[in-house]
Amino acid sequence: MRFWQKTLLVVLILFIVTLDASVIMMMHKSWQLNMEREIQRSSNEQALIANNIYDNLNSIKSRGMTVNDDVLFDVARSYADYYLKQGISLQLWDREQLVYDGALAAEKRKGLEEHHVHEIVTSGELPAPYQELKLVYKRNIEELYTSQKELNRYFVYVNATAGPILACLLYVLIRQLTKPLRQLSRTTQTIADGNYNERVALKKNDEFGELAQNFNQMAEAVGRHVTELSAMAEEKQRIVDNLAHELRTPLTSMQGFAQYLNSAQISEEERITASGHIWSETLRLKNLAFKLLDLSVLRHQSVERIRISVDELFQSVRQMEREKLEQAGMTLVLHNAIESVWGDPDLLASFLVNCIDNAIHASAEGSEIRLSAYELDSAAVLEVRDYGKGMSERQAQRAFEPFYRADMARSREHGGAGLGLAICKQIAEAHQASLSLESRENEGTCIRIYFTTP
């Protein structure tokens, strides 16, 4: 059973029961009061009539007449006739003997109509010396019963009308009140179906509004996490795909050329081409294997940091890159404003060499590459800047991802595995240093490493 149905039913039943119970109690009380009043009135009237009869008898006696049954009968009848008009019948008893029966007289007059009528019967003796006389007073209260019956009918009628009207009003009211619940339920359903951008549009200051607000916050958090997770999963998948590609491509040609050499009828020239390819692809695989090993070692080994002279570091890097720079016809410009940094000299040299390699590949012949060291906001900064072709924003975002290449074709020509910047990132992390990459297309790229902890 739905919540609104339950609420409606419970409220309806409760309301009707309470209303009916109070109405019934009130009716009962009023009946009691009416009854008491009638009884009181009857006994008063009976006393009054008894007194009158007594006075009458007294006066008859004082006139010297004897009070026999006929006299009593006459006296009683005169009273009974008078009171009969008010629906009251009288009986007069002398000891155990009925002297006059007003009801009988009335029945005689009216004929036999109703036998079972409701009446109040009050009897009492007359004052002395007529104490053996007893006056029975019967008051017809049929009217009281009729009005009570009428009231009962009316009560049933009101119940029959008020019930459905109340139910209708309650339905409208409860549906209105539970509307936010349905709205929430619909939204949760949409979100459960995977649409994490759905929000509850509920601007209220009550508990539902609060719930909606909390719910929206929750949906946002869940949505954010799901996006993050799927982005991470996507990146992982990309890395695995790329690794597969990096491994399969050289393996395919090595396997193929080996088979070619082994089984085909070929010329000397073809033999040299085939074996040359096997050779270069082996080197490529070796390079990839070592780079991967570097990455994995960096990830699992802590770095011992010592004070390194920046001058010495720069000179050794220049030494390492001299041949490549000469081949590419580029110059390396050094600019050093700090004395030393803390770190692992080999790793930092490897970091700079990787960055400079990238810079060489991105730059045109004759351009210059700047390598600088300076202090910024109490952090030592090493910076490699080139004026090459740069990267788009999207490429820059993925630049540190393993195997990502901004320029697939060119990077492979240089024998890169696409791991350079991924290794740089690991090196920076091992030094608890932060990295920044700024790049504009056709303007160049600038990579900085910030040593925040001394």
Binding site: R248, T249, Q259, S263
Partner: protein
């Protein structure tokens, strides 16, 4: 034989494919990026395209969408072996899907299947005084029909399709008799002897030490 366009950005693999195509008598064109393909298709009459998926510039799937209307058979060659990629490839109308690393013989076999399905390999082949008509499954020597059994003909076809490449007896069994054939490699020797005798090809079908047999014929048709 057929003219095949090889689109592959990895130079070693491009060389590997084209060198083998040359061996078995196909002519070829090389392309190293997607953007080079449309001009070649306009200029040349291409029977089949071997297409790498991960290409710089224009990737293989995108290129496929553009050249679909030309109705040239396409075989994808890729390192991506996810089911979704394969389905994408076939949905785009690829004839086959080869995953790196692949074996050269497998690639050649798949090329032949696609070529035959598309009936591009139609013409008869003449080596010396022997004429082979693949569609009619008939062989003529000096204009006279040579009676070959069904297996002998299939073996001959395998040798021709993989000419200039040495094939082991096991490989020949697999290619000519089928994977599930449980015969001995001696069967191959018997059939090769028959072919040599019937076609007078004692010199053409060479026995290669430790390897198997190789049909030596000029690469260019």
């Amino acid at each position: 034989m057929a003219t095949i366009l090889v689109v592959e950005d990895e130079k070693p693999i491009n060389d590997l494919i084209t060198m083998n195509l040359k061996l078995v008598g196909h002519s070829f064109f090389k392309a190293f990026s997607g953007t080079e393909v449309p001009p070649i298709l306009e200029r040349e009459n291409i029977d089949l395209i071997l297409l790498d998926v991960m290409l710089p510039g224009l990737d293989g799937f995108e290129l496929m969408r553009r050249i679909r209307s030309l109705n040239i058979p396409v075989i994808f060659i890729t390192a991506k072996d996810s089911l979704a990629d394969r389905i994408t490839g076939f949905e785009l109308g690829a004839d086959d899907y080869i995953i790196k690393p692949f074996e050269i013989l497998e690639m050649l076999a798949r090329i032949n299947v696609v070529l035959r399905r598309n009936a591009r390999e139609q013409s008869a082949l003449i080596i010396d005084d022997v004429e082979i008509r693949p569609l009619e499954r008939q062989v003529f020597k000096l204009g006279r029909a040579v009676e070959l059994t069904a297996k002998e003909f299939e073996l001959l076809e395998v040798l021709i399709q993989n000419r200039n490449i040495a094939l082991s007896r096991e490989k020949l069994l697999e290619l000519a008799w089928g994977y599930d054939y449980e015969g001995e490699t001696r069967t191959v020797d018997v059939h090769i002897r028959q072919l040599r005798k019937k076609l007078g090809w004692e010199e053409r079908i060479k026995t290669i030490f430790k390897l198997g047999y190789r049909l030596e014929a000029p690469g260019e048709p």
